[in-house]
């Protein structure tokens, strides 16, 4: 068996989960000895590769880019892990869903006009911000997910517990207080 091909992906989230990943400290060195990190915001790879064994996905599905990326990831990954509360529940990015059916419009209005101190105008140039989805969704509402790692952010201890499952060839699963949201 070859080395495990592992990826991490950052969708609509604050990157706190990835920061927590870095808190794995010396375990990162162990990990580097056993797996290949084939895609991650922490490394410089542009294209999500084929045949990924395990992918930790941080963040909710907030915009069109997130959605396209996630669908690609799903197609090319064996085990998908919802990484952190945003991925698992929608969390803070999903608060805008309370604005109702036109939440994407409303959230821009709130952010760039109502609450702006100066330069009150909507970003209009194409591609400056990706097209927002009308509803922010947790990962499993969009694609099938194999395992969930709640936490905002999940502690390094949780991340390690899950990765150890993977390294030992068990299906990744957290239990007990490791499942606590927030």
């Amino acid at each position: 068996m070859g080395r495990l091909r592992i990826a991490t992906v950052w969708l609509g989230g604050c990157s706190g989960c990835h920061m927590s990943f870095l808190d794995l400290d010396e375990f990162l060195i162990d990990l580097a000895g056993k797996v290949d990190l084939v895609y991650s915001p922490l490394i410089d790879v542009k294209e999500y590769p084929e045949n990924v064994d395990v992918c930790l996905i941080e963040g909710a599905v907030c915009n069109r880019d997130n959605l396209e990326m996630l669908l690609d990831v799903r197609e090319r990954t064996k085990v998908l892990v919802s990484f952190g509360d945003c991925a698992v529940t929608g969390n803070v990015p999903a608060i805008r869903n309370q604005l109702g059916a036109r939440s994407s419009e409303n959230v821009l209005q709130t952010a760039y006009i109502d609450n702006a101190q100066a330069n009150q105008r909507l970003p209009s140039k194409d591609g400056i911000i990706p097209t927002l989805l009308e509803r922010v969704r947790p990962i499993h509402e969009v694609v099938a997910v194999e395992a969930y790692m709640p936490g905002c952010p999940p502690s390094a201890q949780r991340i390690r517990a899950l990765l150890e499952c993977v390294l030992e060839g068990r299906p990744p699963k957290l239990e007990g207080e490791m499942l606590r949201f927030g």
């Binding site: 869903n97 059916a101 509803r135």
Partner: protein, 194 residues
Amino acid sequence: MRAEGLDHQVYCRSRPVNTETTTPWDKTAVAALTPLQASDKRYKILEAHIKKYQGRQDALIEVLHKAQELFGFLEDSLLLFVGSRLKLPPSRVYGVATFYHYFKLKPQGAHTCVVCLGTACYVRGSDRVLAAIEQSAGIKSGETTEDKQLSLMTARCIGACSIAPAVVYDGVIHPKQDPESALAQLKGWLPHGN
């Protein structure tokens, strides 16, 4: 998108209660009517009705029925009045008044139109009748037109299933309605007359 059907409004009110009546329930077993209420004959009738039930707290729903019949809807001062007479906290009166859909806390239109959405009416097309009225009146079920002429409501079943679809106009049941007959009936109640 998807969960639209689950969204609902903000239900909490920000309007402070009308404190003119100043009747916190605990002080008021024998509270006098305010001058404004004393001059209103309807309060006398309501008080007499409450006496008929000897002020029993379990008569709350009956008293609210009477109050709504007299006043058309249950405004805050009226709820406070009922609470004080039955020695019930305001929260209890409000909790009951909002549990039962028959009670209205907002003024109603001069005319009412209740579309029955019972199963028999539904399978015979009451949804189309409702849609036609909503479109023509420019209001949704539960709302009143801006000129306060028409309140549109729906009922879960009025038991008139054998003459479905049934619509109640100003308290009178009309049998076998369709969009055309319903709109004809509402002619004159709607601002634009169609």
